[in-house]
């Protein structure tokens, strides 16, 4: 493009085009309005400069119809832009089904990703083109933010909660991955590349990475090692909720309320089990706060999710 000077970021995801349409529409509108006002002011400044022969009589310095008109017009235009932006934004809440879920963990100062097959990479993320990818984000220390300009997506990774961001890459290539939330000394080095590749290349790449245990399998090992299985297995003597198919299911609580078992609920149930107690069970579960770190939490969540074969991850807003 023009002398190697970039003017626009690459459009490489399914939503990039529609975000850009809104952007350019808004750009055209603001440029038109801004230029109109500039021209108007310059025109007045020249026409009514001191000593000019312009007509100056009549007219009080206000005009109610004019003021009402521009107030209403501004409101209407503002609401249109608001609605458009909001509709596009709410798609963040509803990823297409059959998504590939990758765990992303931010820590000072690197991004660590784990694919469902257990493949691990740092500051690099390989994704297949044409397949929706949900990155479930957590942070080990401070707030980070997962930002891929070419995909027009950004989401903070906040310590103490799981957040999700999804995208569908539709153009193979290598794109910048940034941390967009200031996170300390090497903030600007925290990032790397997202490589979008055709599905068959992605499969080959996964193959090359060697197969470790899957994230869910690691989670299952942890589930046993921490003794969770001791109570939550069907054969157990302690009465604890059966976790098969738990993810995405409504759970009745002992205070007559019902919550959906989403990332937030599962995380809280592990770290703060007294907060929401499933109806009909005694609050006997100990807190695992301080016993599992963020990486292990991601394994446990992956395992619990794998117990719900049908449920595709809905990216529930974190509460």
């Amino acid at each position: 493009m023009s002398f190697g000077i970039p003017f626009t970021p690459p459009e490489a995801s399914s939503i990039a085009g529609s975000v850009d349409t809104l952007f350019y529409t808004l750009l055209a509108f603001t440029a038109a309005l801004g230029l109109f006002l500039t021209v108007l002011v310059v025109f007045y400044a020249i026409k009514y400069r001191a000593g000019s022969k312009a007509e100056r009589t009549g007219e009080r310095a206000r005009s109610l119809p004019l003021e009402v008109t521009w107030t209403v017009a501004s409101l209407l235009i503002a609401f249109v832009i608001f609605g458009w932006g909001a509709v596009l934004f709410l798609r963040r809440e509803h990823p297409p089904p059959d998504a590939l879920e990758i765990a992303g963990l931010g820590k000072q100062w690197m991004w660590e990703f784990r694919h469902p097959g257990g493949q691990r990479e740092i500051n690099e993320l390989h994704v297949p083109v044409g397949k929706t990818v949900i990155v479930s984000l957590a942070s080990q220390d401070v707030i980070h933010s997962f930002f891929v300009p070419a995909f027009r997506v950004k989401q903070d990774a906040v310590p103490g909660r799981t957040t999700n961001v999804w995208f569908t890459a539709d153009e193979p290539g290598r794109y910048h991955l940034f941390c967009a939330q200031y996170c300390g000394t090497q903030h600007s080095e925290m990032g790397g590349w997202v490589t979008a590749m055709p599905p068959e290349d992605y499969a080959a790449w996964l193959e090359n990475q060697g197969k470790g245990d899957t994230l869910a399998a690691d989670g299952e090992k942890l589930f046993r090692a921490l003794g969770c299985s001791g109570c939550h297995e069907k054969s157990s003597k302690v009465r604890a909720p059966d976790l098969a198919g738990i993810f995405g299911r409504p759970v009745a609580l002992d205070n007559q309320q019902t919550v959906i078992a989403d990332d937030r609920y599962l995380r809280d149930s592990i770290l703060n089990p007294k907060k929401e107690i499933a109806a009909g069970y005694d609050p006997v579960m100990p807190s695992f706060d301080g016993l599992v770190d963020e990486g292990e939490m991601q394994m446990l969540l992956a395992y619990l999710k794998s117990l719900s074969p049908r449920a595709t991850t809905k990216s529930e807003a974190t509460q």
Binding site: N272, K274, K275, S287, D289, G290
Partner: protein, 213 residues
Amino acid sequence: MSTTTESVAFDTRAREKAADTFGMWVFICSEAMLFGAVLLLFFFARSSYGPAFAAASQHLSLPLGTLNTAVLLTSSFAIALAHMFTASRRWRPAVWALICTGLLGTIFLFIKAMEYASEFKEGLAPVLGAPFRFSGPDPTHAELFFAFYFAMTSLHALHLICGIVVIAGMLLLWPGTTEAKRTHRVQAVGLYWHFVDIVWVFLFPVLYLINRA
């Protein structure tokens, strides 16, 4: 300008008095936002960790907390009396009422300090790296409760200390102060003192009275 107004901006005492009262109220509203913000954080934490907060709250001393509330309410009564006496130009009782106010404030701080000391001894004070020992079911969030407890009560105590210092200063300058200015200052300090009292009136149930039943 005339000596009856403190500020050159006013031509009459009455106008200045109204302005003073209003200014004090605006300042109090500003302070209310300060404590409101901290309370907001507390309510969110409590709604997330209710049982832990209830368990932790049981470890505060209800008798001392109640006594302290009574002490502070009495001090408010005393400074309200001081204001009443200045209005009818009875200076001697006014001074005594002010001295009482300051003393009651000091007693409050003394009792508070005793509470702090016993909490430190019990290992309930997660302050300055002191070890936190809590035998309840959820020590992590009990620690959060005590963090709030110390933050909120020390912020309140700081306000009270400011009030005591101002009353002491006012009493030191008392002999050389014109009568009009005395009334005026007692009223301003009184408004502040009552506000600090109101803050405690909210802190007491919020911190001490969770789930005593």
